[in-house]
């Protein structure tokens, strides 16, 4: 099949590129409606408190302002994807600084902002829990008293007998790793407008929404409307990375409440500061790993204990940490595994879905650990992974036998080794690692004024290092959710076609990818496909656009729809051309060929139209069944997997502690590539985000309050911060996905920090256990931050 494609696998210009380079693309805040009002949130300045009363008397002089709060909610007062613990407007408690008690609605947004100070609250402050390790203490205050515990979720996984495994191991080591709280930092802040539909038709919502069908469900629940009376339309989305889900649902519900109450369109748009304070983030993890192995390098046992800070609300924690428990051992076949993953409530900003989704954290830990094992038994990082890495037929930690696809872990690893001459360079760098640096860390916590012999020689300042990391990643949702997707394709009589899928464009290029798939099947050019505006009223709920599942799930549904229509054309042509078999029919170059004759696709469609042929179809793809035993953590967690290996080359400045990434080589097997240009873009973007995770990013809090609330403090990589990135694809075959097209978005990000950390070890001779590897971490092996709310990043 490979090599025979018309367009699949080539570089195709995005369908939305023209609108975006001309400034015509309409993002959520670009919509305006006649009579539109604005909604502005009112927050308190505490992190944990009981609400005794809210006093609006300060607003009496402003009759033009409408207040929306808990009393305006007819349906669910609390919402959530898994656990309904997040109030749309707080009424019992404040549990984190982002919490909103009410919304002021009026025509003058800047006036509303000034008036927020007029809303007075009577609060009773409660003890704070900001350390997740104390959340489960017997005397800890319950963040959500009705839950009677601060435990959000606990996943155990048991395979074999770890104690026996440790007993059989010559070496047993234990390590602890931590990762920080991370802001998605999509460039577009949240914005949404709710517009009442005439004649009690319900409400129409247009916003920067990642998952329109989820938003619809939450808004309908809050309004107590049937699903059909809430129509959610997605505006052009200015980046999400997992971040425009829960919060967007709640903001949309607030706007909808106000629109129904005032009978006017109501827009809510966040400033960057509001976005940072209220939006959820990537989970900080505390990870304890114990591993037993022998001189032959074979890992006998691994015991893992992971604690995730879920913050104030459960959000996606139960799903995020489930992926963690499945993948915590990495892509290694290990006989005895004992894993516990817990997520807990605290008063910190809440955490949920972010690109990677529970994998970047354990990969950092487990890939650091693999390098340590290699060093102890004296083999290279490449060798240790070859010894333990999964192969076709291997059994994962959850007892899943890997088959029905190319298990390409060792292939990506070998390719990366070859491409970078890894092993040789790794040896070279470790030989020249600066032993003086390792012993000269005397100023760690001791004197601030140096001694004469503590200066560095200029020749010893810059050190090079190389490191690698590998992963296997389960595609799509796995046993964590219902996994099915729809696509609607409607071919017109001139040969052009409408297409839409229930999965949504998040900026990643889904519309183009899906158009290519449909066009490939029909042998037409993707320009002839018009991708419809994402609207919950015209396409079936296909689950969320998360988990790198759009290409594999939505792509399969699109292919299914196109094949249904193609089959109808074929059958028509059998009669029309009076031929016996459709094997000779070839759909290519906007024509259909049969031996010596052919017909243009537009003529074909016109003919079909005149014959009353149904040229529209709904395609469907339901993921193969997967299962999970909650008690033992065993099962075929995902129906297929993808593999990746990244190599990082860094320069470490031993004087300042700065790390520069000179080059990343990313080798991925995402299955079949649909749009090469889009695929490369995913690699460059994912690697860059991963490098930010490794080196700079990290939201810090003081009593639950965020210190870094805008881009002067949230340091995401700029154009000057990352060296070369090289992307290499090994397209493994698979029985699932359109021609075997699987997942790429998240694998690109999840490996980078781990590879960089290993490269830094190679350069400095020192191992670091806590991300980000910022200058303080490099020089002092710890983080420094002020003892108050002052902004930490500048000093």
């Amino acid at each position: 099949m490979s090599g025979d494609f018309n367009i699949v696998g080539r570089s195709v210009v995005r369908q939305d590129a023209y609108a975006k380079v001309t400034g015509q693309a309409k993002f959520a805040d670009d919509y305006k409606f006649p009579g539109m009002l604005f909604g502005v949130m009112v927050r308190t300045d505490v992190s944990h408190a009981l609400i005794h009363s809210i006093d609006y008397s300060g607003l009496l002089d402003y009759p033009e302002v409408t207040v929306c709060d808990i009393n305006d909610i007819r349906g669910s007062r609390k919402v959530g994807v898994v656990t309904a613990d997040q109030p749309v407007f707080c009424y019992e408690k404040i549990v984190t600084p982002g919490d909103v008690i009410c919304m002021l609605v009026g025509a003058d947004e800047s006036q509303l902002k000034l008036l927020t100070a007029k809303v007075k609250t009577e609060l009773e402050e409660l003890p704070l829990i900001t350390d997740p390790e104390k959340a489960l203490d017997p005397d800890a205050t319950f963040i959500h008293p009705d839950k009677k515990s601060n435990l959000i979720v606990h996943y155990p996984l048991r395979k074999g007998d770890v104690e026996k495994g440790f007993h059989e191991s010559k070496h047993v080591i234990e390590q602890k790793y931590t990762t920080p709280l991370i802001e998605h930092a999509y460039l577009e802040p949240e914005a949404v407008t709710a517009v009442p539909i005439e004649g009690r038709g319900g409400v129409r919502i247009i916003g920067s929404i990642q998952n329109p069908h989820t938003t619809r469900r939450i808004v309908a629940e809050v309004l107590n409307f049937p699903l059909t009376k809430v129509r959610v339309v997605q505006a052009e989305l200015g980046g999400a990375f997992g971040g425009k889900d829960d919060l967007m649902n709640i903001i949309s519900a607030r706007a909808a409440i106000a629109a129904i109450k005032t009978r006017r369109p109501v827009k809510v748009r966040y400033t960057r500061e509001e976005s940072v304070v209220e939006s959820y983030k990537r989970h900080p993890y505390i990870m304890k790993y114990k591993v037993g192995f022998n001189d032959d390098g074979i890992i006998k046992a691994m015991k893992i204990d992971i604690l995730a800070d879920g913050g104030a609300y459960a959000s996606m924690s139960p799903f995020v940490t489930w992926r963690t428990v499945v993948q915590a051992t990495g892509p290694y076949e290990i006989e005895n595994v004992h894993t516990d993953v817990r997520a807990v409530y605290t008063n910190n900003p809440y955490t949920g879905a972010m690109r990677g989704f529970g994998s970047p954290q354990p990969i950092f830990a487990q890939e650091s650990l693999m390098d340590e094992i290699a060093e102890i038994i004296g083999v290279s990082p490449y060798e240790i992974r070859k010894i333990n890495g999964v192969k076709p037929g291997s059994i994962t930690a959850s007892g899943h036998k890997l088959r029905d696809h190319d298990v390409n872990l060792l292939s990506v690893l070998e390719r990366a080794e070859r491409e970078t001459n890894f092993t040789e360079r790794h040896k070279e760098c470790s030989r020249s690692a600066n032993t003086k640096f390792q012993t000269s860390q005397k100023f760690r916590g001791s004197g601030f004024i140096l001694k004469k012999d503590e200066m560095l020689d200029n020749r010893d300042i810059i050190k090079k290092g190389i490191g690698l990391a590998v992963s296997l990643r389960g595609c799509s949702l796995g046993a964590e959710g219902i996994d099915a997707a729809a696509a609607y394709l409607s071919v017109q009589k001139d040969g052009s076609a409408y297409l839409i899928s229930g999965l949504a464009e998040n900026g990643q290029g889904l519309r183009t990818t899906f158009s290519i798939i449909a066009a490939e099947v029909l042998g037409i050019s993707p320009e002839h496909i018009y991708y419809l505006e994402q609207d919950t009223g015209i396409i079936a709920d296909s689950g969320p656009t998360v988990a790198s599942r759009s290409t594999i799930m939505g792509g399969s549904a699109v292919k299914n729809a196109a094949e249904i229509i193609k089959k109808r054309f074929e059958e028509m042509l059998l009669t029309y051309w009076n031929i016996k078999s459709k094997d000779q029919l070839l759909f290519k170059n906007n024509r259909v060929y049969e031996q010596s004759r052919s017909i243009s696709f537009s003529e074909l469609c016109s003919l079909a139209y005149s014959k009353g042929l149904n040229m529209s179809a709904i395609g469907w793809f339901k993921g193969p069944s997967v299962h999970w035993d909650e008690e033992k953590g065993q099962g075929a967690a995902y129906f297929t997997y993808v593999y990746g290996c990244q190599v990082a080359e860094v320069s470490a400045n031993l004087l300042t502690g700065e790390i520069f990434v000179d080059r990343i080589v990313a080798v991925h097997d995402p299955g079949k590539i649909i749009n090469l240009m889009g695929a490369k873009g995913q690699v460059f973007g994912g690697v860059t985000q991963g490098a930010g995770y490794a080196l700079w990013e990290g939201i810090t809090t003081y009593n639950g309050n965020i210190r870094e609330n805008n881009f002067d403090q949230i340091l995401i990589p700029t154009s000057k911060d990352i060296g070369e990135i090289e992307s290499i694809f090994l397209e493994g075959e698979d029985i699932y996905g359109a021609w075997g097209a699987k997942s790429l978005g998240e694998p690109t990000l999840e490996l980078t920090a781990a590879a960089i950390a290993n490269a830094v070890k190679n350069a400095t001779g020192l191992r670091y256990f806590n991300l980000p590897l910022n200058p303080e971490e490099i020089l002092l092996s710890r983080k420094l931050s002020p003892n108050d709310l002052s902004r930490g990043s500048t000093n």
Binding site: L655, K720, N787
Partner: protein, 287 residues
């Protein structure tokens, strides 16, 4: 902007000074601090509701060479400074420093006067201006005064400027062309970073001895600071490794003394000392 603020624009200095006479107005030039400051309702920009825009007053944007002096209009932008040939020749340290400030968009608007009048600890133009012994000219409708920049800067975000005054010029005696210069900025990122340590050093070497050694730092002290004692100590001394180490450690001590211990000291102080040594070794020892 959220609150009602009147903006008066003028092309003439006299008019601007007249507008400021009532003492209730705030000067705006590049606006890169004031505009977002007002937008986020920062308490530094709350007590006025009249802005006088001086960004297009020609005489405040002039760069000229007058005998032994260089004069820079206070409303000159960083981009204008970066590309000016007179400054590239005579004040290379200043050019190097301002070219590392913010982004291109910021440098196209932000002015040198605004940078030091704001007097943030991390104002990057301050250390080079201090080692150049910059003076500034200040005008109001009633008077004109000259003051050394060093005396003008009082404490973080405070200067001796009154509400009626405008800083009009920066005046610098042309340094000898034989002076060597070193500028270093440490940020948390390569692109668009706020300074964590800045260093501006000028020196000349005669007979393997320092003459005219000058050093100032930014971001490690509450405001940009010259280290005169260290300069006096260094001048006339034979340059060798020991001297450079000595200078570096003395700087560390001077910073510790003026700043005290801060949460960041554990990182910054050792790095500062090693940086100074490294820069001096690089620029003085191997010549």
């Amino acid at each position: 902007m959220k609150r009602d603020i009147e903006l008066f624009s003028t092309w003439k200095l006299d008019e601007a000074l007249e507008l400021l006479e009532d003492g209730n107005s705030h000067v705006i030039a590049g606006g890169t601090d004031i505009i977002p400051g007002i937008h986020i309702n920062s308490n530094r920009f709350r007590d006025f509701n009249k802005l006088v825009d001086i960004s297009r007053i020609k005489e405040l944007k002039r760069i000229s060479e007058e005998k032994d002096k260089i004069i820079i209009g206070a409303a000159t932008t960083f981009s204008e400074i970066e590309s000016d040939e007179i400054l590239q020749r005579h004040l290379p340290l200043l050019v190097k420093a301002v070219s590392k400030i913010g982004s291109r968009q910021i440098r196209n608007r932000a002015t040198i006067g605004g940078n030091f009048i704001n007097n943030a600890p991390c104002a990057d133009s301050v250390p080079p201006l201090l080692v150049y012994n910059a003076g500034i000219k200040i005008n109001s409708i009633h008077h004109e005064r000259m003051i050394n920049l060093e005396d003008f800067l009082i404490s973080p975000y405070r200067t001796s400027l009154t509400n009626e005054e405008i800083v009009t010029e920066i005046v610098i005696h042309k340094p000898r062309e034989s002076l060597n210069d070193v500028f270093y900025k440490l940020g948390r990122r390569r692109g668009v970073a706020i300074s964590r340590i800045t260093l501006a050093i000028l020196f000349e070497i005669k007979n393997n001895k320092f003459t005219d050694f000058k050093i100032a730092s930014g971001a490690v002290t509450p405001i940009g600071k010259r280290f005169y004692e260290i300069e006096n100590y260094a001048d006339g001394k034979k340059i060798d490794r020991d001297l450079l180490i000595d200078i570096s450690i003395r700087c560390g001590k001077a910073v510790l003394e003026s700043t005290g211990l801060r949460w960041s000291s554990e990182y910054k102080l050792p790095v500062l000392q090693r940086l100074i040594y490294s820069l001096l070794e690089d620029n003085c020892l191997r010549r």
